[in-house]
Symmetry: C2
Subunit: 223 residues, 2 copies
DNA sequence: TACGTATGAGAACAGTGTTAATACAAAATC
DNA sequence: GATTTTGTATTAACACTGTTCTCATACGTA
């Protein structure tokens, strides 16, 4: 089968200009996309999704509202992009925490702590991701895999190891992971919902009791 | 000290009419209030808060939208009234579950199960109450005490008993209650967020593992 | 030069929560 | 019984919202 076009060693100046120009325009477009995303993110995270209008976002970056629609299908799509960024950060945080040295059990602790920490440091991200718009959790858009899966798999992997090495009781890793996930989510969302009641000191107490519960339960076996 | 006005044995007919008429009108007003609340509740619970407009609510009961404002200050106030109803039902469910016979531990189990059950049977109530509009959780309006407190106190009371009778490890009842509350909330909200993954069968598995974790922990102590 | 295309803006649409002005009936007062 | 006051519901309007249509302008291409 003959090659249709040999790799040209030289391009005409016209070709080069066309190529460069095209690249420049694409770059500009991407930059504007990022600008929109950044402005929208800052505003959403400060005033909430419903509290910000497309016109306000546009004004912040000096464009008309309609321009946003050339980059994002609609307001929901814009939010999804922001939430997706949140998931990337979340995944990074959990991934980093899972790489701590030690046995599976201490790595599990590290991941759980990282989970809660992320929520407390990025409460509005967390709200959008896990509380208000959890419909994004399992949604696939444009060939991106459901964003939450990755983080959950980090957890599940460690749990599997912990079971295999005998540090955790025998059982279905997925079920155990889900339970741990639920505990982390419960504490985090409660702490976000009622920050007054969850001072730093208080939260540490709760985390400690939770860890104790996970490890050896709450029942006093001596009686 | 002389009484300013002696109890009149007889009222004039005019007085009686005035009184009855006033009562009738008040009753009618209350009835309309309830009608609005019911219509709004049904619509919110079906289409979500943002998905329903004041005009749609009004249309459902055959009134103009502005009439609603004579009964509720604004849309948010209307939602609060509905969420408050939700809390009343929630409190009833937990209260009933706490009255089951048995030692504090089995009553604790009963309350936790009732918590999750309520969320699964009334997912949109639960979302409005604990996930989307948790700002209502601790809000006081018009001399009503913060609605969530009551339910939490049911839980805390049982935990206190369980600690006192030695069924639970020694510790601060409030902290322990908070942890248990967080676990219940975590499971419930995850199940609501991803009902596909939480079939009835799956949920039972998770509940069982959770109970085991609460009771005797997840760590295998034999190694 | 002319042509097609990508990028932006303005006007407009249907709808939102909410308020002001207004009609009307019932109750209270004379 | 006539008149004033009060309570209720409606219509019109305001300032917004997300979104689409139409149009202008600049740019790469021929």
């Amino acid at each position: 089968m003959p090659q249709k076009r040999r790799a040209p060693v030289r391009q005409s100046t016209a070709e080069r200009i066309r190529h460069v120009s095209r690249a420049r325009r694409e770059k500009a477009k991407e930059e504007l996309s990022r600008n929109i995303l950044q402005a929208a993110g800052a505003l959403f995270l400060k005033h909430g999704y419903e509290g910000i209008s497309m016109r306000q976002i546009a004004e912040k970056i000096g464009y008309s509202a309609t321009t946003i629609y050339r980059h994002y299908e609609n307001k929901d799509d814009l939010l999804f992009a922001i939430v997706y960024e949140g998931f990337v950060k979340f995944n990074q945080a959990l991934g980093k925490a899972s790489k701590v040295s030690g046995d599976p059990l201490s790595r599990l602790k590290s991941v759980c702590a990282a989970y809660v920490m992320f929520g407390l440091k990025n409460p509005i991200y967390y709200q959008l991701m896990f509380m208000q718009r959890f419909d994004f959790l399992f949604e696939k858009r444009s060939a991106q895999q459901a964003p939450m899966i990755a983080s959950f798999e980090v957890m599940q992997q460690i749990v599997t190891e912990a079971i295999q090495t005998g540090r955790l009781k025998r059982g279905d890793p997925e079920t155990t992971s889900t339970v741990l996930w639920a505990v982390g989510h419960g504490i985090t969302s409660l702490a976000i919902a009622d920050p007054k009641r969850f001072s730093k000191r208080r939260l540490e107490e709760i985390m400690q009791v939770t860890m104790q519960m996970i490890l050896s339960g709450l029942v006093d076996a001596r009686r």
